[in-house]
């Protein structure tokens, strides 16, 4: 297939947290709201002049300083973020909002606060920590509403004069939905037998919508959709189609590596992927927008930290449904090393997807930056692809 016109452009944007679009937003007088977890309702960080920027640490190398503060026993993403913060890589942030979701990410941000890594020249800079829901009940919705008011809306209004009215929330949701629709539309091309977009390309575009100000990427995304629509797919057949599930994938190299082994990543169900992160939020008039946004996040949340059993079973069904919808031959459960929630979810998920839903599953742990472990990962994926092919042959299908 011909390279996408803007692929290189989007790839470049992912090379550093403080990318050119973030700088552009600062010049435009925007308030950069940095955040670290998918459980924070994104539209609330994009009200009025505020723009959400998800913190990432691309091209992570040495983690010496973060390892001193957090030891080498904490997950690499949390240490990578701290390291990058200490290096000054997040100095664009006007505040950091983080939920007490997974312990390690929470500790990373607390260390950032204690080390005064950000906001040195900004008297309005603040850190906010939120309690987030554990279950799928109205009590949890009430908690989320209160937490969003106290730890997102009030400080944004008080510190930066951001309009946090119901109207502003509805406007932000509409813009959020527009972006979600674009990403979902792109993602639909992955369902085709001969897909016109690779999993890698999709990931680059999707990740850019989290780490860049959304208003600055929409046009190029729209143009890219048109380009993909008119694109001639390759004749080569993929050896297998896999659904990727697990911890955040900030390194698109992981997906490239999987696809280089002949396994097309037909769908993504990981933190900051398109499922469930780019699910449009449906609002109606009978209830305030904030409550509806919070309810959406709780109903759709697929975070392993959600502890009620409807969520525990529901997460596996969600993966199985996606696998069917995107015609996946197998599921890859991946987990960043030392991530506790995904360690357990990977174990139970890989077992249930195999035994209860009949999918072949590859269960792997991986470093944050896959380049440090290419050989191991490649071997695991190769073996998995071969096992899927053998299964197909055994079933009498064409491999």
């Amino acid at each position: 297939m011909r390279d996408l016109k803007y692929l290189q452009y989007f790839e470049d944007l992912l090379q550093q947290a403080n990318n050119e679009l973030v700088e552009q937003a600062k010049k435009d007088g925007k308030v950069c709201v940095a955040y670290t977890c998918e459980n924070v309702p994104e539209p609330l960080l994009n009200l009025d002049r505020a723009v959400s920027i998800r913190l990432t640490a691309p091209n992570t190398g040495s983690l010496d300083i973060a390892t001193y503060y957090m030891t080498n026993l904490l997950c690499e993403p949390s240490r990578a973020l701290l390291e990058r913060a200490v290096e000054g890589g997040f100095n664009f942030a006007d505040c950091v909002i983080t939920p007490d979701g997974c312990t390690m990410m929470n500790r990373a941000v607390e260390n950032m606060e204690l080390l005064h890594t950000m906001g040195k020249d900004n008297p309005n800079f603040f850190h906010a920590y939120m309690e987030i829901a554990f279950k799928n009940t109205e009590n949890d919705v009430n908690l989320a509403v209160l937490q969003c008011k106290n730890h997102i809306l009030d400080p944004l209004r008080e510190k930066y004069g951001i309009d946090t009215s119901d109207e502003a929330i509805r406007k932000a949701v509409a813009e959020h939905n527009e972006l979600c629709a674009l990403i979902r539309e792109l993602g639909e091309f992955r369902k085709e037998e001969k897909p016109r977009i690779t999993g890698y390309e999709f990931h680059v575009l999707c990740l850019a919508t989290y780490v860049c100000p959304k208003y600055l990427v929409k046009d190029k995304l729209k143009e890219t959709i048109e380009e993909v629509r008119n694109r001639e797919p390759d004749d080569k057949a993929w050896r297998a189609r896999v659904l990727l599930v697990g911890s955040e994938v900030d390194d698109s190299g992981l997906i490239k590596l999987i696809e280089e082994q002949g396994a097309f990543v037909c769908c993504d169900r990981f933190c900051f992927g398109s499922y469930p992160g780019r699910t449009p939020i449906v609002l109606h008039e009978g209830e305030d927008a904030l409550t509806q946004v919070c309810r959406h996040y709780i109903r759709n949340c697929q975070c392993p930290r959600m502890m009620s059993m409807d969520k525990v079973y529901g997460r596996k069904k969600y993966v199985a449904d996606l696998a069917h919808e995107y015609h996946a031959d197998g599921v890859v459960y991946e987990q960043v090393k030392f991530c506790d929630p995904w360690a357990y979810e990977r174990m139970l998920g890989s077992s249930m997807l195999q035994l209860d839903y009949g999918f072949p599953v590859l269960s792997v742990d991986r470093p944050y930056n896959v380049s440090s472990s290419v050989g191991q990962m490649r071997t695991r994926v190769q073996a998995f692809v071969e096992s899927i092919e053998i299964k197909k042959i055994q079933k009498g299908e064409k491999a």
Partner: protein, 532 residues
């Protein structure tokens, strides 16, 4: 750096001077028991007899024998007396009596818990009527949501306590089997071994199966929360036991989580009522609340004594007793009241008579972090070998506020908030979660209050909440002139750090940083790595 005045014991220890001779590397238990002088040896002997009686009574019931041969973890309970020997090294006088009073009660409580498990267990006693009135809860569960249920009508079964928590104290290797099972099924080795072992026990089908329902919670950590899903799946799908997940907010110091937490308590109570058919009784609740407050007052008084030059009740026994009383009991069992007061009387007497655990106290220490299960005697060793006296440990620094204890309409509403507060402020998580202030600032406040010059930091290597603040502990201790001694371990997996490897970290610190010689050099290396 801060220094404290050395306190010298004016009284020569009765009996043998060093407990080092009771260890023998060829044996997996002690070579013999310690000679503590006539009076204290006889006292220790009578306590041993009492334990023989408790265990003998347990074994006389045929279903308990059946259970013994069904469950691998029961092997640990062959070594109860060996476990007691770990708690009493070098002890005399009030210290010995305090330890026995507390631990005998804890052991009796655990023995009863096992007996209750076997009674209702579908594979052992299979007493269905009893089982239908049982509610299973986690090992790290505050049972406040059971405070208003009559203990004669509804039975709270902390199923994981005898199975995993206590069993590891008596037998250091017994949990390894379950860790291997869990890892064989795909849980990585870097998660906290406690929930991992519990998941392994569930996978191995080595939990007793009983109860009309189960209540799980997220009180400890991400690992514990996630392990619950594995356990609940088997409970629900294989054994048809419905589970309720009691969500407990992490940021417990924030007032905006209280209503959520209180509502969760209401739901948990309703769930128990629905599945056991028993009703919540406010009389029962407020009686329990009075006992909770009484226990709180006793604990505060014990801590006051520990802030003096003559601390009396500390170390693993203090924290295990608090675990049992504060968390596993939560005022439900009236028997704890007498024990609380007896312990306080003994401590007050010890304080008046200036009793000491060792011949010298050189350093006053706060123990922070989570203690390893399989080196439960560590703090007693530390005071005997190096004269470092552990005044308080993180697990014992728990709620000091009184809860509403009079039955009024307002207090019935307040009661839900009180239960929620206690639940959120469960042992350990009240410091490991809730923001860095409860972990860092609370420690420095405590150092000030207890006049401590050294902090022993248990670095449980899989406890991400603690290790995530490693650098900050270092920096802030330096700023305050407080020595910080890191001691790494892996909670209940002795393959990662052996007992001596753990002690060696203290030995190295004391010799190289503090430049001191041990009080009892014979204890520096103890041949007990292979002992149960």
């Amino acid at each position: 750096m801060k220094t404290v005045e050395k306190v010298v014991n004016p009284v020569r220890r009765r009996g043998e001077q060093s407990p080092s001779r009771i260890y023998d590397e060829k044996l997996k238990v002690r070579a013999r028991r310690e000679w503590r002088g006539v009076k204290d040896t006889l006292y220790d002997y009578t306590r041993w007899l009492y334990q023989v009686y408790v265990i003998g009574k347990f074994i006389l019931l045929p279903r308990n024998v059946k259970g013994f041969f069904r469950y691998r973890w029961m092997m640990s309970y062959l070594f109860v007396m060996h476990g007691m020997d770990k708690f009493t090294i070098g002890l005399r006088d009030e210290a010995l009596r305090i330890t026995h009073t507390a631990m005998n009660f804890v052991i009796a409580d655990v023995t009863q818990a096992i007996a209750n498990c076997f009674r209702g267990d579908r594979r052992v006693g299979n007493d269905k009527a009893y089982s239908d009135k049982c509610v299973i809860t986690d090992e790290n569960s505050m049972v406040t949501f059971m405070m208003g249920f009559d203990t004669q009508k509804v039975h709270t079964i902390l199923r994981e306590v005898p199975t995993m928590f206590a069993s590891n104290i008596f037998h250091q290797f017994n949990v390894m089997h379950y860790l291997d099972i869990a890892q064989q099924y795909g849980i990585p080795g870097d998660v906290c071994p406690m929930p991992e072992a519990e998941a392994g026990i569930s996978i191995e089908d080595d939990f007793c199966v009983l109860g009309s329902c189960a209540v799980q919670n997220n009180t400890t950590c991400d690992g514990s929360l996630m392990g619950n899903g594995i356990i609940a799946k088997r409970l629900e799908r294989e054994y048809g036991i419905p589970t309720f997940q009691l969500a407990t907010p992490l940021r417990h110091k924030e007032p905006d989580v209280m209503e959520y937490a209180a509502e969760e308590i209401r739901k948990a109570i309703a769930f128990v009522e629905e599945h056991t058919g028993e009703k919540w009784d406010w009389d029962v609740y407020f009686r329990a609340a009075k006992r909770v407050n009484d226990a709180t007052r006793c604990r505060i008084a014990q801590m006051e004594i520990n802030s003096t030059p003559y601390p009396q009740f500390f170390g693993a026994v203090f924290s295990l007793y608090n675990d049992t009383n504060y968390m596993g009991n939560s005022g439900r069992n009236a028997d704890f009241v007498a024990i609380d007061h007896k312990l306080l009387e003994l401590a007050e007497k010890g304080y008046r008579e200036k009793r000491m655990y060792a011949k010298e106290y050189r350093h006053r220490c706060i123990v922070w972090g989570v203690q390893p299960q399989y080196v439960i005697d560590m703090l007693y060793w530390m005071v005997q070998c190096w004269g470092v006296v552990p005044l308080a440990d993180m697990l014992s620094i728990i709620n000091t506020d009184m809860i509403a204890e009079e039955d009024t309409p307002e207090n019935r509403e307040q009661a839900y908030r009180d239960m929620a507060m206690l639940n959120m402020e469960m042992i350990m998580r009240n410091h490991t979660h809730g923001g860095y202030k409860v972990l860092l600032d609370d420690l420095w406040d405590l150092c000030e209050k207890m006049n401590a010059d050294i902090v022993m930091m248990w670095e449980h290597m899989s406890c991400k909440a603690l290790t995530g603040m490693h650098g900050m502990f270092e920096e802030q201790a330096r700023e305050r002139g407080i020595h910080i001694m890191w001691v790494s371990h892996d909670l209940c997996d002795p393959r990662v750090f052996t007992r001596q490897a753990i002690r060696d970290q203290v030995n190295s610190y004391m010799r190289t940083v503090m430049r001191e010689e041990p009080l009892d050099p014979a204890l520096e290396i103890i041949p007990d790595n292979e002992a149960y």
